[in-house]
Amino acid sequence: MALAETSPKGRRKSSPFTRFLIKAGKTVMAISVTMLGLLFMTFVIGRVMPVDPVLSIVGERASQEMYDAEFIKLGLDKPIVVQFFYYIRDVVTGNFGISLRTGFPVWNDIVRVFPATMELATIGTILGVLIGVPLGVLAAVKRGTWIDQIARVVALIGYSMPVFWIGLIGLLVLYGMLGWIGGPGRLDVFNEDIIPPVTGMILIDSALARDWFIFKDALSHIILPASLLGYYSLAYISRMTRSFMLEQLSSEYITTARVKGMSERAVIWKHAFGNIKVQLITVIALSYAGLLEGSVLTEIIFSWPGIGSYITTSLLSADMNAVMGGTVVVGLVFVLLNVFAELLYKFFDPRAK
């Protein structure tokens, strides 16, 4: 309150940088609180699961002394609150423990599998946006015509076609019979581990290394799974785009633009589309986040070593460290994407300032 006393206009006078710091501080606080909640959840899940963490490390035939030693080493003799703080400390320092299944630190595993998912999800989302948005706009503009109907059917198929079926059929036809695309996995076996990982995304790494042979191979492997994910997000994005556009096209300012003598194309893209960007960003961010969580089925069908199949396989082998670590990372990505989307709102909508 000291600020208010010294200068009544203190709030307005604060420099843009100070305001930025306050804003940034608030955002970091919001993220921290959300993450704390998430950590609490994963901690509880880790404790509630009927898996004895000690037993899974020392094995069933260990002596009682070995068991007790490990019990104390893991800090399980401490009160639960203290254990929670240990857990937070570990997570903050990037220590998610050792994965029992792979034998590596969970963090290293995630660094390995997450870029694979990210590569897939990013290309899928790009495809979904590049086709889905224009399709949705077109469907809204041509509402009720056969174009709208076709767009509806295309989206419906995208929603309802199970990926394990279309994925297998796609592999069978395009890879098995025609040989147009690469098979399961991220690369052909003889191309694996040639490119040194920089980002972990093979398309980027091979482009950085100017190894276009590997790049082409990676592309031929990613094209089908990414297209399937892209189709799925296209279905969602195009339907949402359509309904956003319909809402805008019936507003008064659209009539204003027409009264001015503007061409229909400019009315649609300059005026109506300019008003749905914020809503679209939300939808695209959510759909991208959904894909980043790992599309388990797609990753399993295509033997894609991503985070979805990593978490699922870990869960099936009761590898709780890996499950908890993976969940925390996915949650963090989700939160960060939301923050990023919110930053974009302010850029596209003057009212959000």
């Binding site: 507003s251 008064e252 300012y253 009539t255 204003t256 633009a257 027409r258 009264v259 001015k260 003598g261 503007m262 061409s263 229909e264 005026h271 300019g274 008003n275 960007k277 596209f348 909508d349 003057p350 009212r351």
Partner: protein, 283 residues
């Protein structure tokens, strides 16, 4: 005096599930360099008449007329592309609420200069200069600042003045004002009307003023059409309004409270279904 606009037997029809709905039924009038008021209750077809002139009735709505000529040239036979050079440049329209009729994510200056640049091949700087000039003409101070504002940052009265600037900047011959003050505070209504009136008279334009406010229209316009159920039931010189003959107009006038002759109970308008059936009056 040659007419700017001649409308004969204008119909606006909407096909619905239960047959065709006629929103405007055989309206005829002509407009010179004058202020013509169109008065009527909600749903009487007055707004539809305005939009039909601009051919902005959305499909599946249909516009039909024996004659709808702008400067003696038919409007109905023009292509959509030809209509685009009519809209804004020849006939313009101000709508009810600036909160909705301005694009919320575009700076007002850009929206106004855009209206100018659609019809004039000029550079951005010239369009901006013209826009600032226009903003001054609608009595906005600090035009440079307003130019950079977004619609949510301006008041209703200022928003409507911005709207007027936007619609007048290509210098049209006819202005349709569709309830331009209904959404504004009473305190700024007169101010906005005066600005609009001044500009319309200065530029020698024809004005079609659509409103449900009889008194406002009679004080503001030269002639008044009274519409009911898609038809023109009566047409009067504005200063002859008290001599209105039609029972509907009389009913409307009687249901207005008057300061100089207070009554305990205002009379309620009794509608006669026969009114809707009668032919439109030509003016």
């Amino acid at each position: 005096m040659t007419n700017l606009l001649d409308v004969e037997n204008l119909w606006v029809r909407f096909p619905t599930r239960n047959g065709i709905f006629d929103a405007v039924r055989g309206v005829s009038f002509s407009l010179g360099k004058e202020r013509l008021g169109i008065v009527g209750e909600s749903g009487s077809g007055k707004s539809m008449t305005g939009r039909a002139i601009l051919r902005l009735i959305r499909k599946p709505g249909m516009v039909e007329a024996d004659r709808m000529d702008l400067d003696g040239v038919p409007l109905l036979t023009r292509t959509e592309k030809e209509m685009r050079s009519v809209r804004g440049q020849k006939i313009s329209m101000i709508m009810q609420d600036p909160k909705f009729s301005l694009n919320p994510v575009m700076r007002v200056g850009k929206q106004i200069s855009e209206a100018y640049r659609l019809h004039n091949r000029v550079s951005k700087a010239e369009a901006k200069a013209k826009t600032l000039e226009m903003l001054e003409a609608v009595a906005i101070r600090d035009v440079e600042r307003v130019y950079e504002m977004y619609p949510h940052e301006v008041s209703g009265g200022m928003g409507q003045r911005i709207m007027i600037a936007m619609m007048l900047i290509p210098n049209p011959e006819i202005m349709i004002a569709d309830e331009p003050t209904s959404a504004l505070d009473v305190s700024v209504q007169m101010q906005v009307l005066e600005i609009m009136d001044k500009l319309v008279v200065e530029r020698g334009m024809g004005l079609i003023f659509i409103s449900h406010d009889l008194n406002l229209v009679s004080s503001f316009c030269d002639r008044v059409l009274i519409m009911y159920s898609g038809r023109v039931v009566e047409t009067l010189k504005a200063d002859q309004l008290h001599n209105a003959q039609h029972p509907y107009t009389r009913g409307l006038l009687d249901s207005l409270p008057r300061l100089d002759a207070p009554v305990d109970r205002l009379s309620v308008l009794q509608r006669d279904p026969e009114w809707a059936k009668a032919e439109s009056v030509t003016s």
